[in-house]
């Protein structure tokens, strides 16, 4: 007994115990990251279409989930049956007991569409303007052949809609605003000139509309007659088909091709179906833009503050207190910065700017509402402590001998700073900036108050003067995750998209962090010194 007590006192058990807790932490992190990677990366790989016979008829779909038998409930399998326009739901749980022998029909197709999610079934025939053109396998071959052309046409229509039509709309809107200004001044001649300009634009607009109409009609000429596994029929225009995937009839290379094409669509395309399908390019672009603007703002702010605190301010209790206060700002919740951004930047500064420069478009706010500038400014404030701390550390680490050498040569303080101290502190400042970017890219709460939206009609950077629109709202990866995962009506179907977006965000943030932390470690090793 006493030996046991003795051993207990020696505490080998506790070493194991604390080791277990640490192992648990590490296992949690790794499984979390691994889970996101697996879920995100796997989604685009085409999975086979399984057909089973149930009591309610045949069911065709991808197997997406499995629930073992528990309590009263029997074992169940989740099928993604698609065809939301016909069945009303994308998923079905089917008890394993009801399943017959699973089959993998070669002719089963997964058709990605612009609306209502994918169609899963077969192509019965292909028609042109109501006339049957081909049936059966010939129809599939024909459809596959015509699909690229149809897609090209659709992109063409979309680019006209978004580019030229949008551009015209903006110009007409601008003219309308200047007309309001002129009306207030009462200059009749100027007013007439403006009217003429509007009329001219309107004519162009009408012409564009007619050509668009014809293009749209043409796109609708080819239609597919689709048939589900249980025999329901659906007519679908070829112009609204994104991809036709013969899922059970693919070689490994074919699967890879589809995987890459889907991945590309995800990264480079606009979202569809209230963000649950298509790509997230605007969100990626918005995140990058916002982080860029934030970086431009945060570096001078942080560096000047650090220079002042470390090089110019008289070291004393006050500076120490200020330093502690600035450091502690990093611990202030991000939502508080959001509240400040909303109250001060959006309503305060933005409201004043509107009153001074955009009075003609009031009460519609221009800067007096959330926008990329305000969001970036808010995040810059949020991340300034990170840059200040890193810069101060870097400035402190520059060897005294170097400064003294420079000063002894007769250089002024500024010359020493600019030519000697700052260059050797640059890697440290860069580390701070990267950490700030990593923090900024992952923040969502302050953005929700200062300018992020679920779907932005136009990007903050485009071909219209002045090209970079600081007042525009933008999309953001993090907010995209929140919005699609939690606000979307069809969040189950959108889940894989969210995983993919989460993976992307995670990659960006983690890689940036790893890079910055490695850089910092290297710098510290080179310079020596304790971290605590």
């Amino acid at each position: 007994m006493s030996r046991l007590t003795e051993r207990f006192r020696q505490g080998g058990v506790f070493v194991w115990f604390s080791g277990t807790l640490l192992a648990f932490c590490l296992a949690m992190i790794l499984s979390l990251v691994g889970y996101i990677v697996a879920k995100g990366m796997g989604y685009f790989w085409p999975s086979p279409l399984v057909q089973v016979q149930t009591t309610e008829g045949p069911v065709l779909g991808e197997i997406t989930g499995h629930e073992p038998a528990r309590r009263e409930e029997t074992e169940k399998i989740q099928f993604r049956v698609g065809n939301r326009d016909i069945y009303g739901q994308d998923f079905r749980w089917i008890p394993t007991a009801e399943l017959g022998q699973p089959q993998y029909p070669k002719d089963a197709l997964l058709i990605e569409r612009l609306e209502y999610g994918p169609f899963i079934g077969r192509i019965a025939s292909l028609s042109r303007e109501g006339q049957q053109f081909a049936t059966g396998p010939a129809a599939l071959a024909e459809a596959l052949q015509r699909l690229p052309e149809a897609n090209r046409q659709r992109h063409h229509i979309q680019s006209i809609e978004k580019g030229e039509v949008g551009d015209l709309n903006r110009r007409i809107e601008k003219l309308r605003l200047s007309r309001r200004k002129v009306e207030a001044s009462g200059d009749a001649a100027a007013q007439q000139a403006l009217e003429a300009q509007v009329a001219a634009l309107q004519t162009t607009y009408d012409q564009l509309q007619t050509s668009l109409e014809t293009a749209r009609a043409e796109a609708k000429a080819w239609t597919l007659n689709l048939q589900t596994a249980d025999g329901k029929v659906k007519e679908w225009p070829l112009g609204s088909v994104v991809r036709v995937i013969p899922a059970n009839d693919l070689t490994g290379l074919g699967k890879l091709g589809i995987y890459l094409s889907r991945l590309w669509e995800f990264v480079a395309d606009d979202p569809r179906e209230s963000n649950t399908e298509g790509g997230i390019f605007p969100a990626i672009f918005g995140t990058v833009m916002m982080v860029l603007v934030m970086s431009i703002l945060v570096v001078p702010l942080g560096v000047i503050t650090a220079l002042y605190l470390r090089e110019y301010a008289k070291q004393g209790w006050l500076v120490r207190a200020v330093r502690v206060a600035v450091n502690n700002l990093a611990g202030v919740p991000s939502i508080v910065f959001g509240v400040f951004g909303l109250g001060f930047f959006v309503y305060g500064l933005g409201g004043s700017i509107d009153k001074l420069f955009f009075a003609e478009s009031l009460p519609t706010p221009t800067y007096g509402t959330g926008g990329i500038l305000w969001a970036s400014l808010t995040l810059a404030l949020l991340t300034v402590p990170v840059v200040v701390v890193a810069t101060e550390e870097a400035l402190g680490a520059v060897a005294r001998s170097q400064r003294e050498a420079s000063l002894a040569m007769g250089a002024t303080k500024w010359q020493t700073l600019w030519n000697v101290v700052l260059p050797s502190a640059t890697p440290g400042i860069l580390t701070g900036l990267i950490l700030a970017i990593a923090r900024g890219a992952g923040e969502v709460a302050p953005l929700m108050l200062t300018g992020v939206v679920k779907l932005a009609p136009s990007m903050p950077l485009d071909g219209t003067f002045p090209f970079f629109h600081l007042d525009r709202k933008f999309m953001h990866l993090g907010f995209h995750i929140y919005d699609v995962g939690f606000q979307s009506p069809n969040s189950e179907a959108a889940k894989p998209m969210v995983f993919m977006a989460a993976l992307l965000l995670l990659l960006v943030v983690v890689l940036l962090n790893l890079f910055a932390l490695n850089l910092r470690r290297k710098l510290r090793e080179r310079l020596g010194g304790s971290t605590f």
Binding site: G11, G12, V13, F14, V15, W16, F17, S18, G19, T20, L21, L22, A23, F24, C25, A27, I29, Y35, R70, R71, T305, L307, Y308, Y312, V324, A325, V326, N327, G331, V332, P333, I335, V336, G338, V339, F340, L342, G343, T412, K413, W414, Q415, A438, G442, V444, A445, L449, I481, Y482, G485, F486, V498, A502, L505, L506, V509, V510, N513, L514, F532
Partner: protein, 724 residues
């Protein structure tokens, strides 16, 4: 060399300029960053400013029995049986056009104009008319000088008997198709109280009165209809307030008031009955369900007035109301019981509160003098007591802490108690810390004291990566993956830590029996790696044991078991999920700072301990941990700060219901999530907006203090290490 001197001079200038710029810029930036706090505070402060009132002046007019003031405070309507309706412009006193299209003058009687500008008039011919004040304004014309008063007259109903006084009437909108309006009237006749319900069509049959067979001992002094027009509230000379069924005359409930009742009225929403006594007592009652029975309940009382309370008028914007006697006039707020306005009067008369509640009018009955006051109180519904104390709201049985900022109707009573939100914040933080603290501190202890250097170099970056995980990703996983998983496998999840603990306790003695060279070569310092398979084994064990335990011990389903054995319900998005996810966010913070503190404990101390024969664990537990405890305290403070302010995880992983319940199976709403949910909808500079700024201010102060304390403790510790 002159060029060098000029060069030097320029360099000096540049140096001076840069010194100035950087000092100025630095100070400016620091000032701006710190001014954030002041700005947030500045936005919240108007909540607590006292209401401002000032006299708008006096005007001599004809004597009147009824008065009404427009929301601009510039147009006044006076009404008297002899003079009819007259409109005046204030402060000039010039009459505004008003067609005399009502019943012929003089009228027999007229009720005082109510807050919506309605009155019942009995004409000279004994017919009954309803009038509603409306203005005809030229488009975009805000100057009342250009307005015309166009009262809408309806009725002309023939009365079976002209009552001596019409006590109260209520318009019941939308009874039938086309929104038919019906009218319920209660009146006093020489033989007692009578009531009737009639339509407003002039073609209606003669209005017949039904007498109310109430208890003969009651002497009614004031009577009003309930909001649905089904119940009469009667105040009596005996000081009883009675809810009466008009059809049967039966008393549904009654309550003593303490002094004879003089007048009755309603606050906005017609839920709260305002009662005024003969000696100036002022209270609000409501009819509320207590233990399945409707009861009259006194739920607010206000400072006493002097003399009998002559009348009430409610604001049409919020829950403030006007009450007056012959000598004074006050505006009180129902919810906060705050007196917003008080003025002395020179005699009895008619009084009115503008629809927005910002202009107050008194018309002296004897002299005809009109007096107006303006009242500026943007946030009357907020008081310190309301934010932090229990408040008795309309429809509630007793005072409670409630957060419900908006409701469906205009007459909604906003409920701004911050207590449930602070509670939610603390609850979330508590569960997160319960999960994170032991894991992080013991993990740090292991890493700093027992792990091999190579392992340590692998562990630290991994944990740092954990710190970098965006909280939106954690929240998403918590809400969409973990919450359903936990719901399905709650028993297993609860079981798992115990199984792991048991296994690790079993391994240690076994390990002790192995030969020392083997232990040194494969084990010591690498226990973590050995534990990975153990964790997996534990996972398998629990997944088989879980369903068995659930079946045998809990009788099939843990949810019903929880419900029957502990009386708790299980929400899918609950505090456990939040604690887990937020703990995940906090672990790396506590870990990193603790690990730094633990690793920096001077080697001399540990070496001395080991040399005295202490085991490594004894050294770690008795020497290293106590020495570094300030560092761990500091780590905990920083972790707390993070947990308190975390927004996205809580937003996504809880149901965001502001309930006050410590149960780990319920959700909550935190201060931060509340801001994120509500501020996009909050009108600029409204009460909600400012309360949310106040919440942000609290968060700021709380986290700032926590972090400052942590920093100071850490600095002291650093100095101590240097001195050892």
């Amino acid at each position: 060399m002159p060029s060098t001197t000029s060069h030097q001079a320029r360099a000096k200038h540049v140096d001076k300029f840069m010194a100035f710029t950087i000092s100025g810029g630095g100070l400016l930036i620091i000032g701006a960053v710190l001014a954030m706090l002041l700005f947030i505070l500045k936005e919240a402060i108007p909540l607590f400013l006292p209401p401002q009132s000032k006299s708008m002046g006096m005007l001599q007019a004809t004597r009147a029995g009824g008065a009404w003031v427009d929301e601009s405070g510039k147009a006044i309507v006076l009404m008297s049986p002899t003079g009819g309706l007259k409109a005046l412009r204030f402060p000039e006193g010039t009459p505004l056009p008003a067609p005399a299209d009502g019943p012929a003058l003089p009228w027999r009687s007229a009720t005082a104009l109510n807050a919506r500008g309605e009155s019942l008039v009995v004409g000279a011919d004994g017919h009954l008319f309803l009038t509603r004040l409306t203005w005809s304004k030229p488009a975009g014309e805000n100057d009342p000088a250009q307005w015309t008063l166009e009262p809408r007259w309806q009725g002309g109903l023939q009365l079976e008997q002209v009552p001596s006084e019409i006590l109260h009437f209520r318009l019941m909108e939308g009874g039938g198709l086309g929104g038919d309006v019906s009218l319920r009237i209660v009146a006093q006749t020489p033989t007692g109280l009578v009531w009737t319900e009639t339509s407003l069509e002039a073609s209606s049959p003669v209005v017949a009165w039904k007498s109310i067979a109430y208890e003969p001992s009651l002497q009614p002094t004031a009577v009003v209809w309930s909001s649905d027009g089904k119940i009469l509230f009667v105040g009596t000379r005996e000081g009883q307030l009675v809810a009466l069924d008009p059809e049967s005359g039966r008393s549904l409930s009654s309550e003593g008031f303490g002094e004879p009742i003089q007048s009755l009225g309603f606050a906005l929403g017609q839920q709260s009955l305002l009662v005024g006594g003969v000696q100036g007592k002022l209270a609000a009652y409501q009819r509320v369900r207590v233990n399945e029975v409707f009861k009259l309940q006194a739920f607010h009382s206000f400072p006493r007035l002097s003399g009998p309370v002559l009348g009430f008028q409610a604001s049409q914007r919020d829950k403030r109301f006007l009450a007056w006697t012959a000598s004074e006039m006050v505006v009180d707020h129902l919810t906060t019981e705050r007196r917003m306005f008080a003025a002395r009067l020179e005699g009895p008369g008619a009084a009115a509160l503008a629809p927005r509640g910002d202009v107050i009018l008194h018309a002296n009955e004897a002299t005809g003098a009109l007096r107006l006051w303006s009242l500026d109180a943007p946030h009357p519904e907020i008081s310190f007591g309301l934010l932090w104390g229990k408040t008795h709201y309309e429809g509630y049985e007793k005072p409670e802490y409630v957060w419900q900022s908006t409701g469906g109707a205009d007459d909604f009573e906003p409920k701004f108690s911050l207590v449930p939100l602070v509670f939610g914040t603390l609850k979330g933080t508590l569960y997160a810390m319960l999960f994170a603290f032991p894991l992080a501190v013991l993990g740090a202890l292991y890493t700093s004291q027992f792990a091999t250097p190579r392992l340590k170099n692998a562990i630290k970056p991994t944990i740092e990566i954990m710190a970098a995980l965006p909280s939106v990703v954690l929240g998403f996983l918590a809400g969409l993956v973990m919450a359903p998983l936990l719901e399905r496998m709650a028993v297993e999840v609860f079981l798992y830590p115990f199984v792991v603990l048991l296994l690790s306790l079993l391994i240690a003695p076994f390990w002790g029996r192995l030969s020392l060279p083997f232990r040194n070569a494969f084990g010591n310092g690498r226990e973590v790696l050995w534990m990975v398979p153990v964790l997996l084994v534990a996972l398998m064990l629990t997944s088989t044991m879980g369903p068995w335990i659930e079946r045998v011990v809990m009788g099939g389903s843990y949810r019903t078991w929880l419900q029957s054995a502990l009386g708790v319900t299980y929400d899918q998005r609950n505090s456990l999920v939040v604690g887990f996810a937020m703990g995940f966010a906090v672990i790396p913070i506590i870990f990193t700072i603790s690990e730094d503190a633990l690793s920096s404990v001077p080697k001399s101390l540990t070496s001395a301990s080991l040399a005295c024969g202490a085991s490594p664990w004894q050294t770690a537990w008795r020497i290293v941990l106590p020495t570094a405890s300030p560092g761990i305290f500091s780590a905990t403070m920083v972790g707390l700060g993070r947990a308190i302010g975390e927004t996205m995880i809580v937003l996504m992983a809880t149901g965001n219901t502001p309930v006050m319940d410590w149960s780990p199976f319920n959700g909550m709403r935190t201060l931060s999530a509340n801001i994120a949910v509500e501020i996009p909808e909050a009108p600029l500079h409204g009460s909600l907006y400012r309360v949310l700024f106040l919440a942000a201010f609290l968060l700021f102060i709380l986290t700032f203090v926590l972090n400052t304390v942590a920093e100071l403790v850490r600095q002291r510790l650093r100095r101590r290490y240097e001195s050892i």
